[in-house]
Structures are given as C-alpha cells and as structure tokens.
Symmetry: C3
Subunit: 138 residues, 3 copies
C-alpha cells in the first residue's frame, strides 16, 4: 500500500527551516499503514531534507558552518549565466540530498527522542516550495 | 512484507564506528524476503549511517577532515544553553543523514565489494545507541 | 512488486558525472508500477548519487568546492598502504552517500522541474562502475 501527498510550503528562502514532522505523522495516521517506510522528498535543487534537533543554536551553527565552508558570496560559475545567483545553495543541496527515509512500525515513525524532520530551503528569495510525503507499507 | 528490528549498540562515542552489515544480513536472512529495500536508521542527532570501505586509514582520514572542517572545539551556539557540548556532532550529523537504503535482490544486500555499513557515533560520551534495521519487500 | 536492474557505466573517473534519470524512467515504465519508491544505489566507495540541476557551472562549482575542502592531493592515511591513492574520494563519498530514493506516483518519478539524478564517480582512473536501479511499489 502506498500513500503519497505533495505539500506546498511558503518559504522565506535564505536559510529557512520548515518542520514537516507533523504533516508526515498525519499522513501516516490517515493511511492506516502500520509497518513500512516513510519518505520526505524535496523537489528543488537549492535545499534538502535533514533530521536534527530543532534547537535554535543548532540551526544557527549549521548556517554559520555552511557560510564558512560554502559561502553565499563566492564567485560561483553558476552565476556566469546571469540567470540566478544561488550557486552556494546548489552545492550545499548536493551534500544534503533531497530525501530522507524513516522506518515505520506499530503505526509510528521510528524517530529518536530529539529527531525532527526539517526541510531546509536556501533559495535566495521567497518562493513556494514543494515537498513530497510518502508512506509505503502494509 | 516488512521486518523491523531495533538494536542497541554499546558505543564509546567520540568518533566511534560500528559495523552493522552482519546484523542487517541476519535480519534479511530471517525475514525470507528475496527482493526489496533494506534500511538502516540511526535514532540520534549526533551521528549517522555511512557506507564505506572499512579500512583504518579511511576512518582516520574521515575524522581528520571533519576535525578540520567542523572542529570539536569551535564556539557553537548550541553550547550556550550549557546542557551539552556536542555542537560539532549535530552539524556533522546533519550532513551525513540518519539513514541509508540498500536494494535487495535474490535474497542478498546489493552492496559493492568494498562496501560496509557503519554507524558513526560522535556523541561526546559513552552511551547506548539505538539503530533501526528494516527489510521491506516480497 | 519489485523490479531491480544493475547497470554498468563506462566512467572516466576523476570527477565524472553520469546522468541515470532516463535509465530509471525506462525501468519504471517497463515495471508497470504506478506508485511506490525508486532507488538508485552506487556500488562503490569512491563516489555516490546526487540530485541536482545538470548545469555545467553547478558541476564545476561542486568540483571546485570539494577540491578546496577535501583536496585530491592531501596526505591521506589511506595512501600509506600504497594500494591506491583515492583517499579524497572515500571521504567525499561518505558525505554524499551511496543512494537516493525518489517517490513514484501515477507512474512517474516525482522529480522537481530542474532535478536530474547523477552518479558521481571520483575514482582516480577509468573503470566500469555498477549502479543498481530499483522500483518498489504497486
């Protein structure tokens, strides 16, 4: 059995983190699936999905470290087309990956105590962002 | 068909790597599943799952490179709460991700010749760590 | 229902990116599966799978940034065995991960408009590379 839902998030861009744990739990509950695999998939190339403790310090540290290692202001070749100026977001996104999979058992997401599922959007401007939620199982 | 098992690892923390390839193979064999998807999911926010060659040099290099890029001793904002001092582990974990999925066919994990599945625990102290193993298929 | 296919890519190594979106779409169409999960799994420890915009600038930027952060020429301990000299590729591969999963609905991969699925091979020489494609669903 498979239940798939695409949701649209209203993101500020920049370094926006949006918690999708509750929408995923709601889809799981509605699906009636008791055991299987949950997937969160981000449909853009300038962000990704991460699982972390949703503590303000952790998210600020993540932005700081990424800014040190893969800064927004670098001369990216992607900018030479003069179409968009989000080179940093593409490189960071390639490292995060677009999806996370989480096992389901007894009708529950098997997340650890401190784990929250966040979509990270690093697009340079405000835009609607599409995320696919899926529960597959029995 | 879905088989899910949570195992507890006795980890030293720091930069501990624990091979879970054999436990996953045992679950696969016991499940009777011949084709599908295997998932390893780490239930903590201070480590992750990786697939690599389990050679001492590779693991030492990985620790060295991470220490250069995302050092243990940095002034992380996560530490300002004075609850725990594992900011580096959260940032690194966000990059690794909590899970890996591996296809199964003919009753075998389709790992490459040198690929081993390791849990990487970067928590600052010794602690039991929970890992979910799952086989989903037919 | 599960359909699994292993394909062999003729890669130049170095920093080779090979698009596997079309082979995955073909397997999906041939499988008759309408809803489920697609997986691309790389069977080597010196590369991985990424989803990105396949724009020449993005791929050049990715190589430049990785060369700055995890350079080819570093004194990796992995090289001390004098067996191979691909330490950088192992570290980078551990960060990318060997697999990507993509939801399927209405018989289509739910990729975003600019998303392409690329295998990234960073082995130091030309070699055939094995990639597993899998569609699981109903």
């Amino acid at each position: 059995m498979v239940q798939t839902q695409t949701i649209t998030l209203d993101s500020d861009g920049g370094f926006a983190t949006i918690n999708v744990t509750d929408p995923l739990r709601e889809l799981l509950a509605a699906s009636g699936i008791r055991a299987g695999l949950a997937t969160v998939y981000y449909q853009h190339t300038t962000g990704g999905v991460l699982v972390t403790e949703q503590e303000a310090g952790v998210l600020a540290d993540l932005e700081d470290v990424l800014q040190e290692l893969i800064p927004v202001e670098r001369d990216y070749r992607h900018h030479l087309r003069a179409v968009d100026f989000n080179g940093h977001a593409h490189i960071r996104a390639a490292l995060f990956g677009p999806s996370v999979t989480i096992p389901v058992a007894d009708g529950q997401l098997l997340l650890g105590r401190y784990q929250e599922i966040l979509v990270l959007d690093m697009q340079t401007e405000r835009a609607p962002r599409s995320v696919v939620l899926q529960i597959l199982g029995e």
